[in-house]
Symmetry: C2
């Protein structure tokens, strides 16, 4: 146990209990613990100082006592975990040294011990905002890239619809689709987000789903010719309405179903017969399968950022104290763009 090294205080966001329904700030607590900044002898772990934390919808799964494969529940009384950008403070792993910048899964705390450093990526390009490694250059970026180019198999001129379109993933899918020459419509949950989609992100059209009492009619208005590609971030009744508006040979990339995550019983989707009539491919995917392609992805996306061919909206919360509210806000759509929490800037 005794490994020496400086022991300092470590502010943490503690997961209090398993959650049913919408998560609340009171499901978490900010507490202060302590941590040794030195890696134990013989360990190949890495100790990092966390800089930016990512608020991700899929963290919701870990807040319940999970029976679902692939989601290990958070431990009550332990810190939450999620993707983050961090700086190496001490390393027992030959590939990492003090001062290295990394991104990967960390605790929601000021300092974390990473016991499996193989799972983290070293950051080599720092001419772009470091926080981007929680978003456009991290998991959401790879999700958008793989989901659009690999899963949707898009063609120039196709009609593309994206739900949760101003979110961490959706805003990128829309911009990738525009770069490919598609017609792109997004939906979001406020007038302000709709304006951003149309005016900042270059979508051809957008609508506020909260103001549409008939989603089928809204989609028919935006897509009189139907939809070739639906990038689904929300599931539920939106998916049901989309199925009515898909074109023959259409593709639905199922990235997530945020509308369902806080429901005890998911909504039923009734229009699946359209999958047969229209020979639809509905394809679920998980970004982790595409991690081996991360460097290929960077080669494509870094130049797009540098040449300002693509923009990325972030919603920055300052300080770990504000992390619970930031996470909870994802599920009410409070954030505009990628929700990031700044723990420290360097």
């Amino acid at each position: 146990m005794a490994s020496g090294g400086e022991v300092i205080s470590n502010k943490q966001v503690i997961f209090k209990q398993f959650v049913e329904g919408f998560p609340k700030e009171s499901d978490m607590a900010v507490k202060t613990s302590s941590i040794s900044l030195k890696v134990e002898e013989g360990s190949n772990a890495v100790v990092v100082k966390n800089l930016y934390l990512s608020c991700d919808p899929r963290m919701r799964f870990r807040m319940k006592h999970s029976k679902d494969p692939g989601f290990v529940s958070f431990q009550p009384s332990s810190p939450l975990e999620g993707f983050g950008v961090a700086k190496v403070v001490d390393s027992g792993h030959p590939e990492f040294k003090k001062g290295d910048l990394v991104w990967g899964t960390v605790g929601w705390e000021e300092y974390s011990v990473i016991k499996n450093p193989e799972s983290i990526f070293k950051i080599h390009h720092t001419d772009v905002p470091l926080s981007y490694y929680t978003g456009i250059l991290g998991m959401p970026g790879l999700t958008a890239w793989a989901g659009f180019y690999e899963v949707c198999a898009p063609k120039k001129g196709e009609y593309v619809y994206i739900s949760a379109a101003s979110g961490a993933v959706g805003q990128l899918v829309g911009q990738f689709a525009k770069l490919m020459g598609c017609y792109v419509v997004g939906s979001a949950g406020s007038k302000e987000k709709v304006e951003i989609l149309k005016n900042k992100l270059g979508f051809d059209d957008a609508f506020n789903y909260k103001e549409e009492h008939d989603l089928d009619a809204a989609l028919k208005r935006c897509f009189p010719e139907g939809i070739d590609i639906y990038f689904d971030n929300v599931g539920g009744r939106m998916l049901d309405a989309v199925l009515l508006n898909m074109r023959v040979q259409g593709r639905i990339a199922v990235c997530g179903m945020i509308s369902q995550y806080n429901l005890g019983q998911p909504e039923g989707v009734c229009n699946l017969m359209n999958i047969v009539y229209k020979r639809i491919h509905m394809i679920g995917f998980i970004v982790f399968d595409y991690f081996p392609q991360y460097s290929k992805f960077l080669e494509v996306v870094l130049p797009l950022i540098r040449e300002e061919k693509i923009v990325y909206l972030e919603d920055i919360a300052e300080g770990l104290e504000n992390a619970p509210a930031a996470l909870v806000g994802l599920f009410t759509g409070r954030n505009i763009g990628k929700q990031v929490v700044v723990v420290a800037r360097e």
Copy 2:
């Protein structure tokens, strides 16, 4: 109009009215009309004598006033239409001559005029039962072949589940899957059908879905390791239970959803989040897209029949008078195997 030629009586099954809910025999009427057996001069039509008619679940779509693409409604007061095997009586088309055997879309009547003979296939192999061209060598056979080999992309040793497994398509998918070295389980709606699946068709296991109050539990019993491939003929709550039991990277070929065809409002499917977790590919397909591969299909399947590596169960109804009952019986599961109506044997 006047083209001469013999005019004879023509018994027909007339579609009386658009149908809601389960179709009934009284939605159809057997009447006698008359027909000229001579093709009109200058027409490239073909006149055929119908031998075998196919009862297909998808005929149900044509019994309603259709808003769905790809299904042209039956005309009230006209004969129903469906796949059938027929003999050419007169031909205005250079590719067909009197005496040729053909299969394709015909009227439910003793004699039909086929105005677009390009849509029918000439039968070249008559060492197998002619009725097979409504089943294993016709549309259902091609459906099973394309759906299994092309859509499901099966691998040896995979776990395959088939609903409506003793039906026209399901019985073949199961046998194809066994030939490939898969573990195959089917469900059907009676004890007798379950016995046939296990004892005549070589399925590894089978269950009567009507006797299972918990479909999820039944699937877990039959597939403790989960399902790689689900060939879906029924949709609805069976699909919902299957989603809970799919394996990672599983494939669902959506061939039909017969459990939903007679419902005013389709059942909701709630477990679609599994598509994301498990990276499931859910793929709708329609056999018509595979018609160009029909001769390739024949090359594979004819030898399997001749070498008795595959069997095919038919349920034969004698005479046009019994055609309405035979069709209606599909939706209550009365038939065992492919439901055929014999109009004439030669």
